[in-house]
């Protein structure tokens, strides 16, 4: 026996262990109904694998471990699963948890099971999995899944394995009896654990009030080759606390917030060792345990080997409980166990003791008095806390101070409450404070999480808005560009029918780039040559490459240009025209320069003259080329390009006419003397326009004998434009009339003219076949569009009404709007009705109906709520509204029920 150290504090409550050790462990009676909570251990509850009605065998897996920290559950006996549902479980709260209910059939038929022949030959991970599948969880009280602790050998160096056999709580003798009677199996279990963890030293810690158990263990250890020491510590509560026992046996303290394995120590309970032995040797999963039945209310205190899931009542009756005497039923020890108010709660894997106490044995705590800070609690605290200060902070809700005073190092052993001379329920204060702090921290975390999500959402909305804005802008630009392009195209169609322009451009760029590169290379070579530095060869080869590339690019460009011109089969009219124009301009400039020079008698006149001549020749050539091209084109039949050009010409002419007309109008209006002259100009322009138009019409006529859709569209656009013009003009006219302008008469004429034009355009369009499409659109009323229209109308109407209210706007306007709205509404209603009828005929759109009905119902409830809240004044109106809503809802409901 090695040296034993000491821990601070501790108490010596009356042991009361004798009562239950007089008799050997007895088999508890087989219960009829077993209740198996899914959460018998720390960690995630097990997941049921059976369903009500399933027949299970003893030892059959009925719920599997869910996650890393969890334990499996097995049927303690054979029978039928009757249900799975909430049932009171052993918990301080007295609440219910999910349980599997098992009806025993009394046959105790085992599922096939077999121990491991030689666990030492198995891979360790398989052995641990085997133990995990046996559902073993710490039997000492907390119920930590054992396999998790057995994995500790993998990432921790385990020097010392401590087998906790201290059982320091008064009353409990389950471990004591287990050691006395089944020391062999315990040692076998320790061997398995030692094989997995490979500790250099094994200590069995027990208290000096269990001499028989120590003797039994010593006997069992005789043949054992492991380095096992039994250390007997003086009886003192709570020497069985994991941290306290470690301190007692090794003088090492487990750092706060860490686990013993961090200091090279692993603790296992003797009961756990026994359960492991049962599983490894015999293949029996954890389906039973030793439970101490004790307390003054029992006629026969003793230890039972009890099936998990056995209700307390059965055990109490087997121990001859006196219902009259029973006052408090404590599960676990008197210091840390919890009292329950229901004797139907089942035994679970961690239930080591049931104390049926009388009133005198465990009287209710007297009312708490004020703390006089007597310091007794501090003297007994095994965690070396200041319980009176913690109490002060816990009571005053100064939670951060409590935390600072190491509240979370409290092991809730109850020693402070035990000695408290003022009967203050200190442990409950600490438990509450701990829970409060945890809740607060969880809430803090949740709030932080919510804040982040809120901010993320805010950012997302911002981004969406920005994106929308960007898209809108892009669209606007796109539209503008499209318009510009359309214009361009209408001009360019003639010029580049083959669409080679883009390629040409690219090629041109490529050629330019190649040229630049070439230049650069040339320069590099030159500078290199100059400086005489090396790598000339490389540079030269580079230069050659660049040269080649440039040549190739140029060639490609040339070819493309040529090919373009040829492939199109037509000279590039536009280009030619431009060329001609450029040539002319240049010529003019040159001429001007020449004239200047001649005037001043300068030198170089000769040269200039030559240039001018040259340019003249060029310009003539260009002009010729252009003209031939043009001629050739018209000769080759009118093509679209030509037509388009003509049209553009015509448009330009028209624009000029209009401008002139306007100027003329102005002039006339202002009574200018130039008006006559201008009129003549306008007429001339008009003539020109007419010419252009004729030319165009001729071209178009020849080009497109049949009205193509494009043409049609164009016509339509013309027509619309004309219509718009008419409207505008009309408006202007109205304004003018209203303001009594003298130009009104004239304007009227203009409007009439425009109207005529519009009619013309309309006719042209109709002629072209536009009428064929028009009526088809109106055939079926588009409900959606109608709805939109109605809502727009409504909005307008409302606005107008509002304006009217505010003293702006006219009554007539509103009236008109209202009429329009009503008309639209009527239309919509008609359409809807038709649709509904249609739907009714063809099978109603149930979903829509349902939605309507739901909406109506909601309206009713909303109305009701409003009614409830409203004052007396609004009551009547609201009630009416409610009635209406009710009616509507009912109607809808009826409709709905008819179809459903």
């Amino acid at each position: 026996m090695g040296h034993v150290f000491a821990f601070h504090g501790g108490i010596h409550p009356p042991e009361n262990k004798r009562q239950s050790t007089r008799k050997p462990i007895r088999q508890a009676p087989l219960p009829q109904h077993l209740v198996l909570p899914l959460a018998q251990h720390l960690g995630a509850p097990a997941e049921p694998l059976v369903k009500p009605g399933d027949r299970v065998l003893k030892g059959q897996l009925i719920a599997s471990a869910a996650g890393r920290v969890s334990a499996a559950l097995h049927a303690p006996t054979s029978g039928v699963i009757s249900s799975i549902g909430p049932y009171p479980v052993p918990h301080a709260s007295g609440m219910e948890g999910t349980c599997i209910m098992l009806e025993a059939d009394g046959e105790e038929r085992w599922i096939e099971h077999q121990g491991l022949a030689d666990f030492r030959r198995m891979p360790k991970s398989e052995l641990i999995d085997f133990i995990r599948n046996s559902g073993i969880a710490g039997m000492g009280g907390a119920g930590f899944p054992t396999d998790v602790k057995l994995h500790l050998g993998e990432d921790h160096i385990v020097n010392t394995l401590i087998i906790n056999a201290a059982e320091c709580e008064p009353y409990i003798t389950a471990d004591d009896m287990l050691m006395r009677e089944r020391a062999e199996d315990i040692v076998a279990g320790i061997e398995v654990i030692a094989h997995l963890l490979e500790p250099s030293h094994i200590l069995i810690g027990t208290e000096d009030n269990k001499p028989q158990a120590v003797r039994a263990l010593e006997k069992a250890l005789k043949g054992c080759k492991l380095n096992i020491d039994i250390r007997v510590v003086p009886t003192k509560y709570p020497s069985g606390g994991e941290k306290q026992l470690i301190k007692l046996l090794t003088d090492v303290e487990v750092p706060s917030g860490r686990i013993p394995a961090d200091v090279g120590i692993v603790c296992q309970n003797v009961g756990t060792a026994y359960a492991i032995a049962r599983a490894v040797r015999h293949g029996e999963p954890l389906i039973s345990r030793i439970v101490t039945l004790t307390g003054d209310a029992l006629g026969q205190p003793q230890n039972f080997e009890t099936l998990i899931g056995t209700p307390y009542q059965l055990l109490l009756e087997a121990s001859r409980v006196s219902d009259r005497k029973l006052y408090r039923l404590v599960v676990g020890g008197p210091m840390m166990g919890f009292a329950v108010d229901n004797d139907q709660i089942p035994v679970i894997k961690t239930t080591n003791c049931l104390i049926a106490s009388t009133y005198d044995e465990m009287p209710p705590a007297p009312p708490a008095q004020e703390c006089i800070r007597c310091g007794l609690c501090e003297q007994v605290c095994p965690a070396e806390l200041l319980p009176q200060q913690l109490y002060w902070f816990a009571k005053g809700r100064e939670l951060d101070k409590a935390k600072h005073h190491n509240l979370f190092d409290c092991i809730e052993c109850g020693a402070c409450s035990y000695v408290c001379s003022s009967y203050i329920p200190l442990v409950q204060y600490y438990r509450n404070a701990k829970a409060e702090i945890r809740t607060e921290e969880a809430e803090q975390r949740k709030a932080e999480h919510a804040r982040q999500r809120f901010e993320a959402r805010q950012a997302r909305l911002e981004a969406e808005k920005a994106e929308k804005e960007a898209r809108r802008k892009a669209r606007a630009e796109e539209a503008a560009r499209n318009q510009a392009k359309k214009k361009d195209q209408s001009e360019a169609v003639a010029a580049a029918p083959s669409g080679g322009v883009g390629d040409l451009k690219a090629l041109k760029t490529a050629a330019a780039v190649a040229r630049t590169k070439l230049k650069k290379a040339q320069k590099a070579v030159d500078s290199a040559r100059e400086s005489g530095s090396g790598d000339l060869a490389a540079l030269e080869s580079e230069l050659q490459q660049a040269q080649q590339k440039a040549d190739a690019a140029q060639q490609a460009l040339d070819a493309a240009e040529r090919g373009d011109a040829q492939a199109a089969g037509q000279p590039d009219l536009k280009q030619l025209k431009t060329a001609a124009a450029v040539a002319r301009t240049k010529l003019k400039q040159a001429e001007k320069a020449l004239k200047n020079a001649e005037d001043k008698g300068q030198d170089g006149v000769e040269a200039l003259r030559a240039t001018v001549q040259q340019l003249t020749a060029k310009a003539e050539a260009a002009q010729q080329a252009y003209e031939t091209a043009e001629k050739g084109e018209s000769a080759g039949g009118a093509d679209t390009a030509k037509v388009a050009e003509l049209k553009a010409d015509m448009d330009a002419a028209r624009g000029k006419v209009e401008k002139a007309q306007k100027a003329l109008d102005d002039a006339i209006a202002s009574g200018s003397p130039a008006a006559e002259k201008m009129k003549a100009g306008v007429e001339k322009l008009q003539g020109k326009y007419e010419d252009a138009r004729k030319a165009w019409e001729a071209a178009a006529g020849t080009a497109q004998p049949g009205a193509s859709p494009a043409k049609l569209a164009e016509l339509k656009a013309d027509m619309h434009a004309a219509g718009a013009k008419v409207e505008k003009a009309q408006k202007a006219l109205d304004d003018a009339i209203a303001s009594g302008s003298p130009a009104a008469e004239k304007m009227k004429a203009g409007v009439a003219k425009l109207q005529g034009k519009y009619n013309e355009a309309h006719k042209a369009w109709l002629d072209a076949g536009g009428e064929a499409q028009a009526p088809t659109q109106t055939e079926k009323p588009d409900l959606k569009a109608l709805k939109q229209q109605v809502s727009i109308m409504r909005t307008k109407l409302k606005k107008a009404e509002k304006a009217l209210e505010e003293g702006e706007g006219s009554e007539a306007e509103v009236q008109e709007l209202r009429q329009r709205h009503d008309a639209a509404k009527a239309e919509l209603d008609g359409a809807e009705q038709a649709r509904i009828a249609e739907a009714a005929a063809a099978g109603v759109d149930l979903k829509q109906l349902q939605i309507d009905a739901a909406l109506a119902r909601a309206a009713v409830t909303k109305a009701e709520r409003a009614l409830g809240k409203a004052g007396d004044d609004d009551r009547e109106a609201l009630r009416q509204a409610l009635q209406e809503a009710n009616l509507k809802a009912e109607e809808l409901n009826q409709t709905l029920s008819r179809f459903e």
Binding site: G97, A368, E370, N432, T439, R457, R857
Partner: protein, 199 residues
Amino acid sequence: MSAVIIAILVLLGLATVFGILLGFASVRFKVEGNPIVDQIDALLPQTQCGQCGYPGCRPYAEAIAGGDAINKCPPGGQSTIEALADLLDVEAVPLDDEHGEEKPRSVAYIREDECIGCTKCIQACPVDAILGAAKQMHTVIASECTGCDLCVEPCPVDCIDMIPIETTLNTWKWPAPTPGVQLIATDAGRGRMQHGDAA
């Protein structure tokens, strides 16, 4: 005369020393940003419900820092008011009823067979805790829901319930012991009855 000069020199010296000290302190212990807003924001429950009249918790935190009342947050309740009072060193006042009353923490629940898939609640949710798409039924991610109520009003078919969060075995916590004095104060009445029950 020399006494006056000495006095002036001494005062000058003191002024210099303290000036240097203050300067040093202002550099050394410089406070970054406006941490009081952050601190207030950290105390608020972050439900983003807007019951305080501000669009979210942070704006309210800024308002409090600017001198607004601290009792406008119903989800935080009295405990938040007390924490704020503690932080700002002002009197803890009772919750302003105008902004709502303190309710137990709850989560939104959508009765899914009544949902018509209008997405209105999704747009209302300040923390994106509602999943769904147009014409598809929606559902609340309970773990993300702050219980702010904002989705209830927009629902056209009233299919959203606010369900108080129930205590489970995992969230159950020990109640605080009844303070001894109260128990004793009712010695003659309720206290004894409890004893009678117990016995």
